[in-house]
Symmetry: C2
Subunit: 476 residues, 2 copies
C-alpha cells in the first residue's frame, strides 16, 4: 500500500536511527512536546493518560502495602541539602535555585527539590518520638527538578513527575525488608502493567543513590539493547536519620536512630514502554496502561446502519469497562489504520456492512498484527480476552528478547562485542572501582545490577578471582 | 466527663478565638504541619487523603464534561509573564524566581508558576492552527507558588496544590458557556461532595483575575461569617490569545484569534470544609470526602468475641465500599470517642458484648451527635444510609445557616453592623471603584459576587441610583 508506506516514512527507521525514531514517535503521537525552557517537556493528554494509568496501578499497590500519600514542600533550604555529605555532593550540581521571591532577595537560597529525603527527613525528625510512631510509610506524587545537560523527553528532563516513597523503621532488618519489598512491587508492576521484563538487583557503590547505604534497581532492555534504569529502591541505613535527627525511644527506653528507605519511579517509565515495545509503525502500548485500548474503525461508513452499529458497539464496550474510541472522522479507513497503529492502540476493530450481516467484527492486534473474526454477540468477553492476550503476548515477546540477549563475557573484548551487538553482558567483577571504570572506558558500558554477589568468577577487567557477577550494559 | 473536658480544652474556643481554633484543629488532627520555609505547609496523610477524595470527585466531573489532563512545566520564562499587561501586574509581585541552575547563572530568570495561562497559552499558540483543532479542553493538577506575606495552612500558603483548567474556543459564546458551565460544576461539587452551600456570580472589576475579561466566583460562608472564595472561573476573551498568538483559520478561511477560559480550585477547599462544618470538638467531615467514614470502637474489648466481631464488621463494611477503620488500640473508649470526634469521622460505631447479644450496634453521628441502635444484620445498608443522611444533613444545616445570615443594608452603617454580626450583606452598588473602596475602608468588607447585575437599587456608599446588587462580606 502506497499510502501506508508514505505514512510510515514519516517515522525514522527504527533499526538505523533509533534516537530519531524515538523523537519522531513521541512528537507525532502527541505524547509530549518540548517546553519553552531548555530541557523541559510538556506532557500532552495522550502521554499524561498513560501516566494516570501508571499512577492508578502503582498507587493501589502502595496502599495495599500500607503506605499513605502526603505532600511536602517544593522548596528546600540549601542548608538542608548539605546535612548529608554524599547527598549534597550528588545533587548540588543539578539543583535549580530560587534566590528571589515576593520582590525581595531571600535571606537563604532555596532549591527546588531534586528529591525529598532532606525535607521529609526534617519533618520525620520532628514527628517521630517513640517506637509507637513506627513504621512511618509515606509516599508522595510530585514534580522534581534536576538540571541536566543532555535531555530527552521522558528519559531525562530537567523537570519530571514521579513518586517518592519515604519510610522509617525501628530496625535495620525491617528497613531492608521494605527496600526489597518495594523493589518486588515495582518488578511485579512492570511485568503486569507495562508488559516489561526487568532485571533486579543491587547496584554497585559507583551507581548507588547519593547518600544510600545500598541501592537496588530494576533495569529494562530497550529496543537497541541499551538498558534503562526503570526504578530504584534505597536502603538508607541511619545516614539520613543521623543527619536529620530522626530518633525514637525504643521499647527498652533507649533513644535510637531510626533506619530509613526511599524508592521511586518516574515519567521515565513512559519512555521505557515506548522503547521496549515500539516498532517501525510507532507505539505499541500495553493494554493495562494504554489510554485507548480499542479503536473502532467503520468500514464503508456511509452505508446505512454502519455508524450506528459502531456507536452501539462502542457503548457496549465502554459499559464493560474498556477504554474504547470510535473514529468516525472523514479520513479513509487506511489512514485511520495507520494513525491508530502509530498511536499504539492495542486492538483495532473493523466493522462494515458485510461484518454486520454476518454478525461479526474483525479484530486486529497491534502487537503482532494478527486478525481474527469475532462474534459481535460476545463482543465484551472476546475483546477483554484479546486485550489480556495482547498484554501477555507483549510481555512474553519482550522477555524472550531480553533473555536471548544476555551474553557472557570473559574479557573486555568480549564485553565490548556483547554491548556492540545490543546485548546485556554478564561478567565477573572483582569489586574495585578501577575495574568498573575500565569497563566504562573500554566499552562505554556501566554496571547495571549485581546478578550474583557471592559466587566464583574472574574479573572481566583485571582477571583476578572475584565474588561478583555483574550485568554490564550501555544505558540511558 | 472530666476526661472529655480535659481533651476538648486542648482546642481553643471556636466562638471566642476562631483563628486559634483553626490552628489547633489543623495541627492536632494532623491534617497539616508548617513547612521549614516560611509560608509553606506539609500536607500530612490525613489532610492529603481529603485532597485525594476531592481530586477523584472533581476529576471525574472534568472528564465527563470532555476535559483531558495534561502537564505543563513548572518554570516560566519571565518574559512570558510580561506579555499580558494586567496579568504581569497582578502576579509579578508574588512570584518566586529561579536565577541559578546546574551551577550556573541563567541567561533569563525563570519564575515558578503562580498560574499557567502564559506557558499554556504559548503551547496552545503552537498547537492550534484550524477550527478543527477547537475546542481545546485541558486541565492540569499541579503545584503553584505565590509568595504571600500573611499565610495560614490551606487558606493562603506560598505553595499550594490545585487544578487549573485552560480551554480554547472558536467563539465568545462558546467560551462564556464553558466559563459558566465549570462554575456550575464547582457549585454542584461543593454541594454534593463538600456539603457546602455557595453563592456564585460574577466578580467586580476590582476583584477579578489579573488578565480576565470577567471572573466568576463561588463564595462560601465560614463559621465566623466571613466569606471564603472557594473557586473561580475566568472568561479571558481574546486577551491571552492575542498575547500568545493563539490564532486559528476558521471555516470561512479567515485567521482569527481564539477565545480562552481558565478555572481553578485548590487545597484551600480543605480549609473551607474545616471552617464551614467544624465545631467545638474539632473537625466535622462530609462523608463523601472524609478519609475515614466510619470508626468502630470496641466496648469492653477484652471480653471474648468483641474484637473478633468488630474485625468481622470492619471487613463487611470495607467490602461494601465504606472507608472504615477499627480502633483496637489500648486507649479507653472515652479517649477514642474524643479522638475520632476531633478528627471529624462522620459515623462512630460502638460494639460491645451486650450489643452482640442483641445483634445490634450503636451508631453515633458526628454532625448532630444522634445515636441510633441498628441491626448488625443489615449493617452495610444501614451505615450507607446513615452516611448519606449525614452528608445531606450537613448541607442542609450549612445552607440554613448561610441563608439566615444574608442581610440587607441600605447604608454603610448597616453594612458595617451586618458584617460585624458575622453576616453576608446584600447592598446596592453604583458600579464605581471609589464606592467599592469606601465600603472596604468603612467596613473592612469587599464585594464578593454580584447578586444581581440588572436591577434597581441605591448605592450603599454614594446613594445614587444603581443597577447592581452586590454581596459584601469580610473575606479570607
Amino acid at each position: 500500500m502506497a499510502k501506508d508506506n508514505q505514512f510510515v516514512s514519516q517515522i525514522a527507521d527504527i533499526e538505523n536511527d533509533f534516537p530519531q525514531w524515538y523523537s519522531d514517535v513521541v512528537l507525532k503521537t502527541k505524547l509530549v512536546d518540548y517546553g519553552p525552557v531548555k530541557g523541559t517537556m510538556v506532557i500532552r493528554p495522550y502521554g499524561y493518560a498513560i501516566w494516570e494509568n501508571i499512577q492508578k496501578e502503582l498507587d493501589a499497590r502502595f496502599k495495599e502495602t500500607g503506605h499513605e500519600n502526603a505532600y511536602f514542600p517544593l522548596l528546600i533550604p540549601m542548608s538542608f541539602m548539605t546535612k548529608e555529605a554524599e547527598h549534597v555532593e550528588g545533587f548540588a550540581p543539578e539543583v535549580a535555585v530560587v534566590t528571589h521571591a515576593g520582590g525581595e532577595k531571600l535571606a537563604e537560597p532555596l532549591c527546588i527539590r531534586p528529591t525529598s529525603e532532606t525535607i521529609i527527613g526534617t519533618m520525620y525528625g520532628k514527628w517521630i518520638q517513640s517506637y509507637r510512631d513506627l513504621p512511618v510509610l509515606m509516599n508522595q506524587w510530585a514534580n522534581v527538578m534536576r538540571w541536566e545537560k543532555t535531555t530527552r523527553p521522558f528519559l531525562r528532563t530537567s523537570e519530571f513527575l514521579w513518586q517518592e516513597g519515604h519510610t522509617v523503621h525501628a530496625s535495620e532488618e525491617e528497613a531492608m525488608e521494605e527496600t526489597l519489598k518495594m523493589l518486588s512491587v515495582y518488578e511485579e508492576f512492570a511485568k503486569t502493567c507495562l508488559a516489561m521484563p526487568v532485571l533486579t538487583g543491587r547496584k554497585t557503590e559507583k551507581e548507588k543513590f547519593a547518600g544510600a547505604v545500598a541501592t537496588f534497581g530494576m533495569e529494562a532492555m530497550m529496543h537497541d539493547g541499551k538498558s534503562l534504569q526503570a526504578g530504584t529502591t534505597h536502603y538508607l541505613g541511619q545516614n539520613f536519620s543521623k543527619a536529620f535527627d530522626i530518633q525514637f525511644s525504643d521499647k527498652d527506653g533507649a533513644l535510637k536512630y531510626a533506619y530509613t528507605t526511599s524508592w521511586g519511579v518516574s515519567t521515565r517509565l513512559i519512555g521505557a514502554i515506548i522503547m521496549t515495545h515500539g516498532d517501525q509503525r510507532g507505539l505499541v502500548l500495553p493494554p493495562v496502561v494504554a489510554p485507548v485500548q480499542v479503536v473502532i474503525v467503520p468500514i464503508a461508513s456511509k452505508k446505512p446502519g454502519v455508524l450506528e452499529a459502531c456507536a452501539a458497539l462502542k457503548d457496549r464496550l465502554k459499559r464493560a469497562g474498556i477504554r474504547v474510541t470510535l473514529d468516525d472522522s472523514d479520513n479513509s479507513p487506511g489512514w485511520k489504520f495507520n494513525e491508530w497503529e502509530m498511536k499504539g492502540v492495542p486492538v483495532r476493530i473493523e466493522l462494515g456492512p458485510r461484518d454486520l450481516e454476518a454478525g461479526k467484527m474483525l479484530c486486529a492486534r497491534r502487537d503482532n498484527f494478527e486478525k481474527t473474526e469475532v462474534s459481535l454477540e460476545n463482543a465484551e468477553e472476546e475483546v477483554k480476552a484479546l486485550l489480556s492476550n495482547v498484554q501477555t503476548g507483549m510481555y512474553e515477546k519482550a522477555k524472550e528478547r531480553m533473555e536471548s540477549r544476555i551474553v557472557k563475557a570473559d574479557s573486555l573484548q568480549e564485553l565490548l562485542s556483547g554491548v556492540n551487538g545490543g546485548n546485556f553482558v554478564r561478567a565477573g567483577w572483582c569489586g574495585c572501582r578501577a575495574c568498573e571504570d575500565k569497563v566504562k572506558e573500554f566499552a562505554q558500558a556501566t554496571s547495571r545490577v549485581f546478578a550474583k554477589e557471592d559466587t566464583q568468577e574472574t574479573c572481566v577487567a583485571c582477571g583476578k578471582k572475584s565474588a561478583h557477577t555483574v550485568i554490564f550494559a550501555r544505558a540511558y
